[in-house]
């Protein structure tokens, strides 16, 4: 009954709505999406560079190159528990594929991330570096991989949260833990040898390392990409199965 044009417009209209509803206006929204990771970067810079005196060059650039993509993942997953609740009125009213709702919140955060890339470029220039041509294909590849992974996780989290309303707290804690286990404010080379295998058991590690490598050196590592694709497919399939099992009950519990 619904054709391709309708699906496309559903995604566009709902994404625009998310943008408006979450940040009220897009100008403030941009400030928010850039300001939050910048503030985090500032805190880590003070803590690790100024106080702990970590031996790294261009540490603020290093931080930002990892924090911006991380922020996309973290914001999307942290928001996931309430996306269906926030759209209860339309879910109870019309039959449409509910899986579009978490997709639009993830897309929205992706757009904010893309808008923050110029800030990374600014920092590159500050350190007398410049963007690389490989960004032209590297950014789209990593965008798709992260979209797959983030959407899969968000779909599962948002579906389960409807049935366990306090799942949100658990997710917040989990995301914080995950952040410290992912090489974002420290390089993966500083992780002791005996824990290296654990590093790659974290689905976010290869992805965040890839982003940082791409932004700082313009290079992509095929093994990291494959690992991310692997985790992305698992997250997406798993998320979709959870969603499919629960989605028909959404209107009942909302």
């Amino acid at each position: 009954m619904r054709n391709y044009e309708n699906y496309r417009d559903l995604v566009i209209v709902l994404t625009q709505k998310e943008m408006k509803v979450r940040y009220k206006s897009s100008i403030f929204g941009y400030f928010w999406s850039v300001g939050h990771p910048l503030a985090l970067a500032f805190v880590y810079f003070i803590a690790f560079k100024v106080i702990m005196k970590i031996q790294m060059e261009d540490y603020s650039l290093f931080l930002i190159a990892g924090l911006f993509p991380w922020q996309w993942f973290a914001t999307s997953v942290n928001a996931a528990p309430v996306v269906f609740l926030g759209n209860a009125s339309i879910i109870k009213k019309v039959n449409f594929p509910r899986s579009i709702i978490p997709l639009t919140t993830v897309l929205q955060d992706m757009i904010h991330f893309l808008l923050s890339v110029p800030v990374i470029v600014l920092f590159l220039f500050m350190y007398h570096k410049s963007p690389s041509l490989s960004w032209l294909y590297g950014i789209p590849i990593l965008l798709v991989l992260q979209l797959l992974l983030t959407y899969g996780v968000a779909l599962a989290v948002s579906s389960v949260s409807l049935f366990f309303r306090d799942f949100e707290r658990l997710i917040n804690i989990f995301i914080t833990l995950l952040f410290y286990f992912t090489p974002i404010f420290y390089p993966e080379t500083m992780v002791p040898k005996e824990y290296h295998h654990l590093l790659y058991a974290n689905p976010l590690s290869p992805l965040m390392i890839s982003w940082r490598e791409l932004f700082l050196t313009g290079q992509l590592n095929a093994a990291s990409l494959l690992a991310t694709l692997f985790y992305g497919v698992i997250a997406f399939v798993g998320g979709y199965l959870v969603y499919r099992k629960l989605s028909w009950k959404f209107a009942e519990v909302l």
Binding site: M1, E5, N6, D9, L14, K17, K93, V94, N95, F163
Partner: protein, 246 residues
Amino acid sequence: MRERAIVFEGVHKSYPLYHHITGGFKNFLFNFPKSITQFMNTRYDVLKGVSFEVLRGETFGIIGKNGAGKSTTLGLIAGVLKPTSGAVAVRGRVSPLLELGAGFNPELTGRENIVLNGVLMGLTRAEVVRRIGEIIEFSELGNFIDQPIRMYSSGMLARLGFSVVALLNPEILLIDEVLAVGDAAFQSKCLSKMVQFKKNGVTMIFVSHSLKDVEEICDRAVWIDNQRIRMLGPAREVVNGYLRAL
């Protein structure tokens, strides 16, 4: 014989008592075996073995006390709920459920909500935009159309809701008590629009406590009482039967 637009066959709908688990993850884990058995066993019935048919182009009323299962019936037709057993078949493009207070996003303007609703109904943005002038005109909301709808009164929301659904060419229209809050002038405007729909062969399901409206507009009606069908037939007879039982 005319085509059937909606068929309910022995529809049974019950809900588990979700508050056992929505009470929280911790509760669920700490009472794990109990949670599971409770989850399986405590259900309450909303509809028991309900069967009826609505023909294409028919106007069909649903009456009954609060909590009798009227809104669940509409939810089943809209496809947002699934029957526990039995079958529901609906043929045609169903409008969003018109209900009081629900359905719109309070932060968006009236205009943005029109587009959102149209796209949710299955139209493309271009199709909605083409008709948006007509919708705004019918709603008589004037300059308020570009205000966030959290500023609207309930009567204004009803105006917006009816206008959107009415002018986006639904094939099946579901109306749940939405006219009650509109002022007299708008109510009569909606009613005349519904008469026009009838001429155009739109199928309408009309839930109302205004028995006069049901009697006037509907061809047939069903009276749902205690989760079951108490009476099904021509609207006048069902309304009379309902009135006698009060």
